[in-house]
Symmetry: C2
């Protein structure tokens, strides 16, 4: 039987280099997304006659908010120095920020559809997105009650932990799948110009970020 990946099996390889790589990818993705939205597209606005500016808030909040900050939240147990309670606090707060960005991002796209007279919830991207945000919120609330306040008993917390981790990783990866479908729809199949190349590379770097976050979760922290 192939043993499942376990902390023990990846001997002498630590999470740190992959966490650093993930941070660098987060900076790169942020840069590319800002170049795309500010330079190639029309920039941001919450209210505007140019509806493209409203739309642009959606990928901004989803990629930089939900995915990059969500990924940093996931890695907090391997990256934040200090007490375990500090790491738990950072994990909780970063996820709250990511979730808020995600909810705002969904609000924005409904607002954009409303103002441009587009029907909601038609694409597979929209279905995946609604599922992601619902599961993300549910996971956050369950995590809050189980691990923060009022907190489950020690044995229950320990029993639930691998499931909290697994379900959390699944939700994170479904969020990444959703982002990739969104990017695919934006890029379409038109001949590639500079903007298209940057979009394609943004998609690849987001995927690399997801892989690095996963490795950081699987590999042990060096004490």
């Amino acid at each position: 039987m192939a043993p499942a990946p376990s902390t023990r099996s990846y001997q002498l390889i630590w999470a740190t280099p992959f966490a650093i790589f993930a941070h660098l990818l987060a900076i790169a993705v942020t840069t590319l997304v800002l170049v795309l939205l500010l330079h190639f597209r029309e920039g941001f606005a919450f209210k505007a006659d140019n509806k493209q500016k409203i739309f642009n808030l959606h990928p901004f909040l989803m990629v930089i908010g939900l995915i990059l900050i969500g990924g940093e939240a996931i890695m907090a147990y391997k990256t934040v120095p200090g007490e375990r309670s500090t790491r738990r606090g950072v994990h909780l707060i970063l996820h709250a920020i990511a979730l808020t960005a995600g909810i705002l991002g969904i609000y924005i796209i409904f607002k954009f559809h409303h103002e441009t007279g587009t029907t909601d919830m038609q694409s597979s991207h929209s279905w995946l997105g609604i599922i992601t945000i619902s599961l993300y919120a549910l996971q956050w609330v369950l995590g809050f009650f189980t691990y923060f306040f009022p907190r489950a008993e020690k044995t229950a917390r320990a029993t639930l932990l691998p499931w909290h981790t697994f379900v959390g990783m699944v939700i994170f990866l479904v969020a990444v799948v959703t982002a990739e479908t969104g990017l695919a729809l934006l890029i379409g199949s038109a001949p590639l110009n500079s903007e298209g190349y940057i979009m394609n590379f943004t998609g690849l770097l987001i995927l690399l970020y997801a892989i690095s976050v996963s490795l950081t979760v699987i590999l042990p922290r060096r004490y």
Copy 2:
């Protein structure tokens, strides 16, 4: 520190129910894909004036070949009865079938582009697909040499195994991401008709299949 998911931590929960669920999902996805391609679209053909028939071979080979058979290959160590060498053989052969289907699927789409005068390699879907098939082939060849013939030494095999598993899972999940972007492009954002609903649900079931395969890999086999 949050412990990484390890076989030990998921006490008393076995891979079997998730593997069975994955098999059922594979049957459901196969059914939906066939309904889509045979009933709603034009069916299959390798040579045809109706180029849609050629295109249809692409999602057929990719979803049923690369992803579903690839997933079954991944689960073979948890699902196939008998000797370890039997399981290894099934794992190897199913992956060879999946890889062949994947290479054929890529050939078909280039052929379709060629016959319809479309530029290749423009979408993020195409980039992800080329990356997936390259890594899949590389992983198969490396796995063959390491675990089948001429085989690495026992300690090297054991050291490499968690990486073989992790990298294999990453490639499988990137294949799933690619399929979801392909489906998203096919569905687009047009108002949903019956075909659109079936496509969206196909996308969701493929995602559920990927999650079930992942759980089957992580959870221990019951002896």
